[in-house]
Structures are given as C-alpha cells and as structure tokens.
C-alpha cells in the first residue's frame, strides 16, 4: 500500500477550480517533485493535504486512512508536516524553541505535571532539549540555537523551517519551494541536505520547486500540474522531454 494516495482530489474557489482530478501515489521514502506554472495549484495541493483547505471533492488516504476533514494539527500528528512558501517561523522565539514546538504532540506530561514540575516534566524536557539540539546539529545550526529566529539570514530560516517540520516526526514531508531566494551554491547544499534527511529519517518527501537544477537533481519522480490538472508524471528524464511540460512550464 502506498504511504499517501489521493483520488480525484479537487477544490473550487468561487468559480475557480484551482485543483481538480488530482490523483497521485507516494510510496514510503519516495522523493517526489511537484512542479507547474505559477498559479497552477501546487501550494493549494499542499494546503489540501495538510487540512488547511477542505477539498470540495476527492479523498486523501494516508496509510489507508482517509484524512479529509481532519484538522491541520491532527494531520501533523498522523504524519504529514510541511514548510511554507512564505516562511512562517515563530519569528520572535529562539531557534531551539521553534524546534521544540514541533515536539509538542510527542510529549506526554500534563499541564498539572508541568506546573508541579514533577519528574516526568524534567525528564521529557531534558529529552526534547537534547533531541532539538541534535536536530539543529544536523543542519549545522546548533551554534545559533539561542538566536531569535527572525535574526537569521534567509537561507538559514528556510533550513530552520525544515528542521521544525522534521521535529514533528513526519512520514511524509512537504516542502514548498525550499530553494526560493537561495543562490545556486546554497541550493546545491540544500539538495544534499534533502537527500540526507530522506535517508536518515527514512521519510517520503514531496517538494514544490521552480529551480530545475534541484528538482531534476534529486527527485525520483515528478508530477506536473497546470491549471490544477496533472499534465504529466514521470522520471526527471521523461519530464524534461515532455512536449506539454516544455510548452507550459520549462520553456526552451
């Protein structure tokens, strides 16, 4: 069974059918790309998968369970986490606190235990503190653990957002234009990081990106949409040659 399967997923805004007949399958540990022209509906797909928008049609099965209608936080707890096209960090909190937020649903101690500072509080807090530092280390950000998030350079903010999404312990990670605003060198570094994450955490990744060097460089499979509809699916090699994709998206 595929990790995630959508069937005829769609949403209409007013009269505009932003996404329609959207059916894909993502296998465990798969690295898939979602590309398409601006306004094609890529971010909208992410918003549907994470429960931000309620689809007007279709099903989303995660591990065989339909998650349509679930709240965003419930979907995170079920194993899909994401980053945003426009970075949404907790800007005024420290880097490490940003990461700790995402451990929330994995922790157990109750409000009363927290207030009374029972051993369970100390134990779990210590654990997640170490875990958060470890995670930051993977991204080479442990030095900046106590900097306020908004003071980070843009590229680091993107990385922090990925780290935070990972901390939620997903099975499927959705990345919305992770390389936007990065120069080619930084993009290269990011590619390595994404690969590394997939292998280390053994998770599937679905990413949206307009930087073809990144998409073609790391995705095993690519889905192309235009006007909300899938126009092509295939390996990077196939997509590169697809006439429709070239006409609508890649250009000459």
């Amino acid at each position: 069974m595929a990790l995630l399967e959508t069937k005829d997923l769609g949403i209409t805004f007013g009269g505009l059918r932003a996404v329609g007949d959207f059916s894909i399958k993502i296998e465990e540990q798969e690295l898939m790309g979602l590309i398409g022209p601006n306004g094609a509906g890529k971010t909208t797909v992410f918003n549907l998968l994470t429960g931000v928008y309620l689809p007007t049609e279709g099903v989303i099965n995660l591990d065989g369970e339909n998650i349509v209608g679930k709240k965003p936080y419930e979907i995170v707890q079920k194993g899909i986490s994401r980053t945003f096209q426009n970075i949404r960090l907790f800007k005024d909190l420290t880097v490490i606190d940003n990461v700790k937020m995402a451990f929330h649903h994995k922790m157990k101690y109750s409000a009363v235990e927290g207030i009374l500072r029972l051993p369970s509080y100390w134990k779990e807090e210590k654990e997640i503190h170490e875990k958060a530092l470890e995670l930051l280390k993977l991204f080479n950000m442990d030095q900046a653990a106590y900097t306020t998030a908004k003071n980070l350079p843009y590229g680091q903010q993107r990385k922090l957002e990925i780290a935070r999404a990972l901390a939620a312990d997903p099975k499927l990670l959705l990345l919305d234009e992770p390389a936007a605003g990065m120069n080619p060198n930084e993009t290269k570094e990011l590619m390595e990081t994404i690969h590394f994450i997939r292998d280390k955490f053994k998770i599937a990744i679905l990413l949206i990106e307009h930087d073809m060097s990144l998409v073609m460089g790391i995705c095993e499979k690519i889905v192309v949409i235009d006007y909300g509809m899938i126009i092509a699916t295939g390996t990077p090699e196939e997509i590169k040659k697809n006439k429709k994709v070239i006409g609508a998206y890649l250009g000459e």
């Binding site: 601006n38 605003g181 080619p184 993009t187 609508a248």
Partner: protein
C-alpha cells in the same frame, strides 16, 4: 544617473551597509549580487527612501536624495519592485495597477499603461478583478512588476524579480527586463539567479556582508573564477 557614495546604513545597532559606493549610468542594467543577508535589499530600500543613510550620500540625476521622502523620490522617477512583492492584497489587480500610477493625473495615459502591462502579463488581464492577495506567488510577482512600471520610471529598482517564478517565466521576466531597458528605463537589479542577471546586465557589483567586494563588467564577472565558485554554482 544614480550615484551612491560611501553610504552606511544601520538597523538599530546592526551595521548592515558599510561604505558602499557604486553608480548606475543612464540606460544601463546594473546588477547587485551577493549571498543571503549581504545587504542587497537594504541598499534598494535606502535608495527609495524607506531606510535612511547614517553617512554617505546618494544622488539621482545630480540631486541628492538621501534626505528626500520616499513619495518624492518616486516622483523624481525611481520605482521599486520590492522584495516579497508587497502588493495590496485587499485590492483587486486593477486597483493595484492604478495605485502604481498614483502620482499620475492623466487618466488616459494610465489606461494606456494598464493595457501595456496586460500585454506583457496576460495572466493579469484574466484576473483583473481578483483580489491580489489570493493570487499565486508568481502571479503576485507579475503584478508587482506591472505596478512598478505604471509610474513610467526613469530608474527601476528590482529586488529578486525571478524569485518563485516558473522557469518559463524567469526567462520571460528577464526578456521583459531587457525590453523595459531598451525602451529607455535604467535598471538596478538584485538577483539570486546570478547567472541570468549577469547575462543581461552591463555591469555588476558583488556584495559581501554589507561591503562591495568586486565590481566590473558583467560578462567578465560571469567568467571570474571566484564569482563562479561563490555564486554561480
């Protein structure tokens, strides 16, 4: 046309721009490249008056502008496509374009400009009455550029216009930039996509942590080994 001479800019205690000098000649495309946080956006904001210099001066057409209010600077002929687009999300596409022509009094001319923008970006014409905030990232970027063109600037500042655009559009945006330029508008371009930027620019400045570290002919820099390593991948 624009001369920036030894400016220093601070965010509170943070010294973001250190003694930066450069100039942009009439009819040129000049590009600023540099890593994240190098200070490119800060420089553009300073030119258009949203930020103030501590020391140094900026001259536009031989008039000092570093003490002039931003709205006056626009009237002098500098338009700005800001980073992150900053379109008016509660207004429609059309209203956004009209705002771009705020200082203009001639209605007909405004309408002509709007037609011209629609020609360049047909997607905007399709969505003329959509609230700008609900448009996709790329659509918003087109709107931001279109809006800046509405004031018919002499100098156009562009902050990462290709960010988040589909490859086919990136190509197109760069074509449009060249078009705008050959129609007589001088352009100061900030880009992460250094390859593209250098290939259409006349000259370029490389910025590192608030300082100009390299400058020269764009084509030469494109061939420069250090630049290749650091910015072109």
């Amino acid at each position: 046309m624009l001369t920036v001479n030894g400016i220093n800019v601070y965010y509170g205690a943070i010294h973001a721009i250190k003694d930066v000098s450069f100039h942009v000649g009439d009819g040129e495309i000049v590009t600023l490249i540099g890593a994240n946080g190098a200070g490119k956006t800060t420089i553009l904001h300073t030119i258009s008056g949203l930020l103030r210099t501590k020391t140094g001066d900026i001259k536009f057409l031989d008039n000092p502008i570093n003490k002039v209010e931003p709205h006056e600077i626009l009237k002098m002929g500098i338009a700005h496509v800001p980073e992150g687009r900053r379109i008016f999300s509660q207004m429609t596409v059309l209203e956004n374009l009209q705002m771009g022509a705020y200082t203009r009094t001639n209605k007909e001319e405004t309408n002509n400009m709007i037609e011209m923008v629609f020609e360049k970006f047909p997607r905007l014409k399709e969505r003329v009455n959509q609230l700008a905030g609900t448009m996709s990232g790329g659509e918003q970027q087109m709107l931001a550029i279109g809006r800046a063109l509405m004031s018919k600037p002499k100098l156009l500042l562009m902050d990462e216009p290709s960010m988040g655009l589909a490859p086919i559009l990136v190509q197109e945006i760069f074509n449009i930039i060249q078009e705008i330029n050959s129609a007589g508008t001088t352009i100061l371009l900030v880009e992460q996509n250094a390859n593209m930027a250098l290939s259409i620019a006349n000259r370029a400045y490389v910025l590192e942590t608030g300082k100009v570290v390299l400058e020269g002919n764009a084509k030469e820099l494109l061939g420069n080994e250090n630049v290749r390593k650091a910015y072109l991948g």
